[in-house]
């Protein structure tokens, strides 16, 4: 640390530091969160960055301010300290976007600091207290909520060079955004949201074993094996609809469990054995680039691994883990554009799901459907995702809708 602690605080009230050549060099630091790709900056990124800047401000006398656009500003600091902080922040936030931190040497940068401070909103209020209101009534709400409102169905597409595209799986799961829309402020706590989804997934599993409810959820005979998002907590004791125990063939029912289920690979092994005895397969879901970077997944006792697409997936961090996995056991979820599928195909993956796949399938159905004159592609996508008669209303070709994509050669 330099002798700067002897200085009187300069910019404490937005007052600007005057340029004094005999003093050690000064600088302001601006963290351009406002320029990061939307959705990449999480509240915890902001909290940590702010705490680190606040610490520097306490030692150096500057202030930390946040602009309405989301940028964080440290108004004034010793230049060497600011450079160190910039390095730390750059390293920590590389996962968000590179080059978000700017160093503004003073006094040259003073006008920009003044502008940012003028823009700065009052310090945000401390985070809302954990929502507890409504917690006692959550159980009843979840027991009564119509499943149709929260369950989504999605066809996964199987693509292989030289082969006709076909449905790989019909994936059924409870949508977190849909649940958030139903449970109100409680959903602000991610743990409560995931608890709600887990309870609803248990109900989904029970419903699938009742023929009428099953028909309603699926809309017709499924075109491919069912891939059902289920937390491990509901699996062993739950009523599992009996599949055909035929370990040689591909099972018709596959439980898709969240990544954390692999935290005890020993337990995963017995879970798989238990499921297999009942004719079920096991898939591990939600494995994204960040998880792959940490894992040595060879030998995991699962039939399938569902990768979560992100542009970071092709990067170096995930490469070692991906090399250890057989691409024939991989599903690529969250394909939101052709680049995801291009990467997947190049990596030898053959099964794809996501918004892009939904759109391609809807366009294919509309092209093949004699009843589609009035339908938009968007409508067809939404009806295919619905898990109830209400959501499918308006479709005059429910058989085609249920199969996901037209059979080759069929009209």
């Amino acid at each position: 640390m330099s002798g700067s602690s002897l200085r009187t605080p300069a910019a404490g009230n937005g007052r600007l530091p005057a340029g004094r050549p005999e003093q050690p060099a000064r600088a302001a630091l601006c963290l351009r969160f406002g320029q990061a790709p939307s959705g990449t900056v999480q509240p915890h990124h902001r909290r940590v960055a702010r705490a680190l800047m606040q610490e520097a401000a306490l030692a150096q006398g500057g202030t930390v301010a946040e602009t309405p656009g989301g940028d964080l500003l440290l108004s004034d600091s010793d230049a060497a300290d600011a450079a160190r902080l910039r390095h730390t922040l750059d390293r920590l936030l590389a996962v968000v976007a590179p080059g978000l931190v700017e160093l503004w040497p003073l006094p040259d940068g003073a006008p920009r600091v003044a502008e940012a401070l003028a823009l700065a909103a009052r310090a945000r209020a401390t985070p809302a207290p954990e929502p507890a209101e409504g917690l006692p009534a959550l159980g009843r709400l979840l027991a009564e909520l119509p499943l149709e409102r929260v369950v989504r169905r999605q066809t996964l597409l199987r693509l292989a060079p030289g082969a006709t595209p076909r449905a790989a799986f019909l994936r059924l799961g409870v949508s977190l955004p849909a649940v958030a829309g139903q449970v109100g402020p409680l959903a602000e706590d991610p743990d409560l949201l995931r608890h709600a989804a887990e309870v609803l997934a248990g109900r989904l599993l029970r419903s699938l074993s009742e023929p009428a409810a099953r028909r309603d959820l699926l809309g017709g005979p499924p075109p491919a094996p069912l891939l059902i998002e289920l937390p491990a907590a509901v699996l062993p004791g739950a009523l599992i609809p009996a599949g055909t125990p035929s370990p040689q063939e591909e099972p018709l029912l596959v439980a898709l469990v969240p990544a954390a289920t692999a935290a005890e690979p020993e337990a995963l092994r017995s879970l798989r054995a238990g499921l297999r005895a009942q004719g079920w397969g096991l898939a591990l879901g939600g494995i994204g680039a960040a998880a792959l970077a940490l894992m040595a997944p060879a030998g995991l006792a699962v039939d399938w691994i569902e990768l979560a697409w992100s542009p970071a997936l092709p990067e170096r961090g995930a490469a070692a883990a991906l090399r250890a996995l057989d691409p024939a056991r991989l599903l690529l979820a969250g394909c939101d554009g052709p680049e995801a599928m291009d990467w997947g195909l190049a990596a030898g993956i053959a099964r794809f799901g996501g918004r892009h796949v939904d759109a391609v399938l809807a366009a294919t159905r509309i092209a093949a459907c004699p009843e589609a004159a009035q339908c938009t592609q968007r409508q067809c996508e939404e009806r295919a995702a619905a898990a109830g008669a209400g959501g499918r209303a308006g479709c005059r070709n429910p058989a085609l809708l249920a199969t996901g994509l037209p059979r080759p050669g069929a009209p």
């Binding site: 705490a51 610490e55 730390t88 917690l135 990544a259 954390a260 005890e264 020993e266 940490l294 040595a296």
Partner: protein, 397 residues
Amino acid sequence: MTGRLNGGTAPVLDALMPTLGGQGGPVELAALVRDTVAAGVERQALHLRIGRIAAARRPQHRRALLEAVQPLRRSARLRVYDLPNGDVVAVGAPPAHPIGQVHATLLGMLGAEAAEGLALLRLPQEAATLLGAVEEALGFTAATTPAPEAAPAGPPLDGAALAQAERALGSGDLGAYLRRQVVCRLAPGDGPMEPCWEDRRVSLKLLAEALLPGLDLGAAPWLARRLRRQVDRRLLAELGRADEMKSVRALSLPLTVPTLTSPEFLRFDAQLPVAVRGGLTICVSAAEVLADAAAFAFARDFLRSRGHRVALDEATAGAAALLPALRGGFDLVRLRWTPGLAALREEDLAKLRAALPSEPGRVVLAEVDRPAAIAWGWEAGITLFQGRLIEQRRRSA
């Protein structure tokens, strides 16, 4: 102490067991195992676990079993040990034909009970298993193992019960649920135990027994996690008090991932004097790591940039192999002792060893409740231990 050992299993008994008095059988057997490990010579052992055989409760059946092992006592190339609980162990250099013959006879007599009641072991590879049997025969295990809980799982934890528990937790004292244990360094033939740091954690089990009696937390893991987050906040608030701050100098603390970037943790971290940084180890379980790997990676980098150490917490052998220390960026791995570790297959053990941090003093074997755990730890090159057995030893020292 018994001088230098390669595999280092048996001195655990020297280091930790009470004097064995006149019970010659088990002491001699322990000594033999020790010599076998030290010299690296191969031995074959047959263990008849008579106490575990239901049929042996009938006297005539018991007599028949003991009669069947008589040929072993007549062989000059074998040594036979009678343990206080009635078990019989025979040891000999391979190929020990009488052992093979008696084993076959017993298999025929025991049928399905053979899985529990009969074991054929190889030394020195399975030394830890045989030492475990000696401890059990001495009643050591019974003394340190609580009665297994047979209570069936109750109804799942629900929102109403959680809301009530949260209110109680907000005002109540955390002390009753707090478990403090000291992580100690204990190396083969290396003098007394050396305390290294304190592991402080709230037992969610004790807390649930008090605040949520009869409810099954495992059936609602996300609600349990919310409770844990609240516990985290309380712990941090207590640690932030001036009189507690100095304990951070040598402390390990399990926390959930969201806590690590919460306002409470950031406030706590900002208060920490520079001098105590580097003494704080944050423990994160594999389930927490995998639940949101991106959030974990960010929190880990933040913690390390602040001078704290990050440990993979309560890992099973499989979890430690799935999340290798180097790839996961863990400074330490806190491995949970279970008897299953001593029974790991060769290839799984190799995988585990490759995944653990390579520098010494970076692996803690936790929940050590019997000497066999330490014996296994030493074989695996581990010198940091934590658990009930260590606490007992510290108190008696």
